[in-house]
Symmetry: C2
Subunit: 369 residues, 2 copies
């Protein structure tokens, strides 16, 4: 089962409040999805994730393909069983990692040959294989295998790449073994070129996917360029389908994305900066590793009521991070995810009340954007 | 406040069931104390520790002295506040780490000069300083500063070292600033020499400490030698005071120690082997990292009802450990602590029922000892 319901559009911005229904439960949109690269949202267990009210998490097909591998996931009966997570899971297609992590890549019409970043072993990824792997994983939402062209690519390369991605999308759709229970999203590409974005959206919409992702953004371009690309893309996507902006999760981009009609986001930012000792707070980022916090016995964020902020001080968290203690990474990860999921809840509430512009103003001012 | 109550002695072995009352709550003995080296039981947060029913944890004075340092702990109002742990804490004196981690050691009557293992900075630790640091930390149970003579030391060296430890114990007692609320234990040394152990115990007992530790064991000698040293030492300690066997925590040594009249144990074994991917189970150790568990979807220990065993498989845990995922270390740590604390609960129950010999037989047989 997969269904998207548009509940309302915010009066002033058109931001969308909605609901996605899957076999593993409902998701309120707009939503932020914590990234669980290799069958774990780093340092979080399923109790933490439930506690955080994470409604859906991500898995990475590339990583899961290399470890533990298709055979183990298959034997486990899918990723939900393997990692003991009974809520929805979205998987990417592996495309992004093949291009960002894989070595010795060789792209052809057939697919991509690459060497594993772990052991250099040679692999071939094709639209059919990426789809099959996601069928084995059993994710509620799957992605078409796409080429992520480099941000520096010129018009001609980007055009050919986008057209290849569209042909691959058709092959993914044809290869999909379980469309009743797993929704396969098409991925709009086209770099920073308006007409290519439009062509990509047009051709994918014609294939009637149950949802659409916007890929190839947040790859080094300015925020203004990214927002402009959203401005030209989302109006071309059908209102009755969810839209997922891939790999974007900074505070400002979440709000600006929602205003431009995005329903779903994911990003490793929250969890990655946590492990390096940086907290996201209502007053901007706090680099708790800094010496200035050595005797600061206040919470990470005085406005936050997560259990880390209720019980632990910046001084303690700094100590843990300085000592490379696992608990430091864990507590900061918990807080950053709480902060972000709580922001999304505030965004949903603001759409309900038609006060999203005020929320943006308020959040940006305090965050110092 | 500090009080030890001997509730009963087991009929066949003389093993002791008791209770320690501190300002931060009661501790049932015999007890195992998880080690929280630098203000954290590695990877566990206070909710995990409560969930595990950890009744008391350890802190290491040497580590806390180097990081975050006396000034931060003082400003935080002690270690309980700093790490948000409201149950009892025991601290060692730093002696063991000065000898095992410190560089360029120079021992004198005054104390020990050493170089930090972190940055090579020079420090002097004395009985007075170790006591003062523990007063600042605010631990419920403190240790006298002792010299841990190397296991290879000869009779003369060990004798001089033991006598120095006894003189240092008197200085620690004299320096103690808060005896009403923090109990200072004397540490019996004397290597593997019966008469030195006896002399050490005799002289410390004459000083009337509220409890006694047995140090310098489990340093490379055989288990038989260690048990023999306990056999000659514990009968010399007063029945109405608790006895703590330092740094010992293997399944057999816990049971054999209890049988020889020990009330308290600590060990890094549980948490250290967890991080390397080894689980303690009712059927012995399981090295879950091994390939044989790749598709083993059974729990770590079929007899364990901890949340890890109830919800996660060996295959998943192996995957996490193989990928160096924080969650792998955390889940195995949780299980190993649960297993050990549960074993101590079984031991207490067996003392209550006078069935400790049967429990030993049963546990050893299954564990393969």
């Amino acid at each position: 089962m997969f269904r998207y319901e548009l509940i309302k559009e915010e009066k002033h911005t058109g931001a969308r409040l909605g609901r996605i229904i899957t076999d593993h439960g409902e998701i309120e949109t707009p939503i932020f999805m914590p990234v669980g690269t290799q069958a774990t949202v780093k340092s979080m267990d399923f109790r933490d994730l439930r506690d955080l009210n994470a409604q859906i998490i991500l898995g990475n097909t590339y990583h899961l393909y290399l470890r533990p591998g298709e055979e183990v996931i298959q034997a486990a009966g899918g990723l939900h069983n393997f990692m003991h997570w009974d809520r929805p899971i979205l998987t990417d297609s592996g495309g992004f990692q093949v291009f960002s992590l894989g070595d010795l890549r060789k792209i052809s019409e057939e697919g991509v040959q690459f060497a594993s970043h772990l052991d250099g072993s040679r692999h071939m990824m094709t639209p059919e294989k990426a789809t099959h792997l996601q069928n084995v994983i059993g994710s509620d939402i799957m992605m078409c295998f796409d080429e992520c062209a480099p941000a520096s690519a010129d018009y001609d390369y980007t055009k050919k790449s986008m057209e290849l991605t569209t042909r691959w999308a058709a092959r993914c759709k044809a290869a999909h073994e379980n469309p009743e229970h797993q929704a396969l999203f098409g991925i709009v590409q086209g770099g920073m070129f308006e007409d290519l974005r439009a062509k990509s959206a047009h051709d994918l919409v014609a294939m009637d996917f149950p949802g659409y992702s916007i890929g190839g953004l947040s790859v080094g371009e300015t925020k203004e360029t990214m927002y402009h690309m959203l401005d030209v893309t989302t109006p071309l996507l059908p209102k009755e389908k969810p839209r997922y902006l891939m790999g974007v999760g900074s505070v400002d981009a979440l709000i600006e994305g929602v205003i431009r009609g995005i329903d779903m986001f994911d990003c490793v930012l929250q969890t990655r900066i946590a492990r390096n000792g940086t907290a996201m707070t209502s007053r901007g980022r706090v680099v708790v590793r800094n010496a200035t916090y050595a005797k600061d016995f206040s919470p990470l964020d005085p406005e936050c009521d997560c259990y880390v902020c209720k019980h632990h001080t910046r001084a303690y968290l700094r100590h843990l991070i300085k000592c490379n203690e696992i608990l430091g990474a864990r507590l900061l990860t918990y807080h950053n995810l709480y902060f972000t999921l709580n922001l999304m809840e505030k965004i949903r509430e603001a759409i309900r009340r038609d006060t999203l512009t005020e929320l943006r103003h308020d959040v940006f001012r305090k965050y110092g954007i």
